[in-house]
Amino acid sequence: MNLRSDDRQWGAVARFFHWTMALGILGNGVWGLLMTEMKPSMSKINVYALHKSFGLTLLGLLLLRLLWRTVDRRPPDEPAPRWQQRAAHLVHGVLYVLIAAIPLSGWWYNSLHGFPLQWFKLFNLPALAGKNIDASQFAHAVHEYLFWLLMLVLVAHVGAALKHHVFDRDNVLRRMLPFGRSRRDSTTPGES
């Protein structure tokens, strides 16, 4: 598999970003939902610190991913009705916005609450806003509901990928799977 994407499939870098971020976002999301149940303790402080560090890491990965996207080519859309192609791109756009907005809203909440923000105990990041406890409640709700919104959009994203894979039997999912090969490669091995 090439690092760069080509006409048939996504490159290794694009797949790496897609799947590490997918796992990271789901994991950190579940982590974040569970950690609020903890009683005040040093463990809770450390669990929150890790949630923030993972979230910042995902934000950093998103920036790198967008940078890579500007220099990498993209495989053309698989044949599908125009409205489906448009819907797919719209969903991708919304996913990108949410993937940026969720960590940023967490950072915003953290700032409004007056908590320090440290990346794996290595360095601190500045506050995005001054302390405002009342507003922090709102920011916390935004942070959480954006994640649920992401889950909702994810149903469309995953559902469409599975529909292409199972019913259309095309390469939409295969060309993004971690070790997947596109069907054209496997069905016509002697072509090239």
């Binding site: 005040p40 040093m42 463990s43 402080i45 007056g114 908590f115 320090p116 440290q118 601190n124």
Partner: protein
């Protein structure tokens, strides 16, 4: 004339032998501390404390600071932290409601005067030294002191909270006292 001489003696002898006593003006005075949490500093202060101050830089041998602090009055501006501080893991105010600092001696380090004393906190007595800056004006004075206390020496935030990569061990104590002559 004899009377005047006696009066002079009465006035000057005590002043020459012992340091002057002051009363603290609480509204203009502050007892503060600053620590670190997750790589960021935080500031707090005690709202309830009393201090008996006898001080004269020329008569350090008879100078004395004696301070009582109500630990439950600590506030740092963060509700999570402020609800944790009085608890058993930190100050344990149920068992040890007050901290006490009393000087044992003063010494000079160059031009700087250092107050050496004993701090009783959370049932532990340890030596603590404070840098002293004293500025007399009129009949009163301002007194500024600062020093470092290692929280773990006193078991403040022991157990799980002893991790100094999250909560720093050094806590800086600063006090600004507005003094009026007694």
């Amino acid at each position: 004339m004899k009377r005047l001489a006696m009066l002079l003696c009465l006035l000057t002898l005590p002043a020459a032998a012992i340091a002057a006593d002051y009363t603290v003006q609480p509204a203009a005075s502050k007892l503060a501390f600053s620590g670190s949490f997750q790589g960021a500093g935080f500031d707090g202060s005690f709202s309830q404390w009393t201090a008996a101050i006898s001080y004269d830089p020329a008569h350090l041998a008879t100078s004395k600071f004696d301070v009582d602090v109500v630990l439950a009055s600590a506030k740092t501006g963060d509700s999570d932290r402020d609800s944790a501080l009085p608890g058993a893991d930190f100050f344990d105010v149920a068992k040890y409601p007050q901290a006490h600092f009393v000087t044992t001696a003063f010494h000079r380090d160059g031009a700087q005067i250092i107050a050496d004393g004993k701090l009783t906190l959370r049932g532990v007595i340890r030596p603590v030294s404070l840098r002293v800056t004293f500025a007399p004006h009129g009949s009163g004075a301002t007194l500024d002191v600062s020093g470092i206390v290692k929280r773990l020496d006193f078991g403040v935030g022991g157990g799980d909270y002893a991790d100094t990569s999250v909560i720093g061990n050094d806590v800086k104590i600063t006090a600004h006292l507005q003094l009026a002559a007694k």
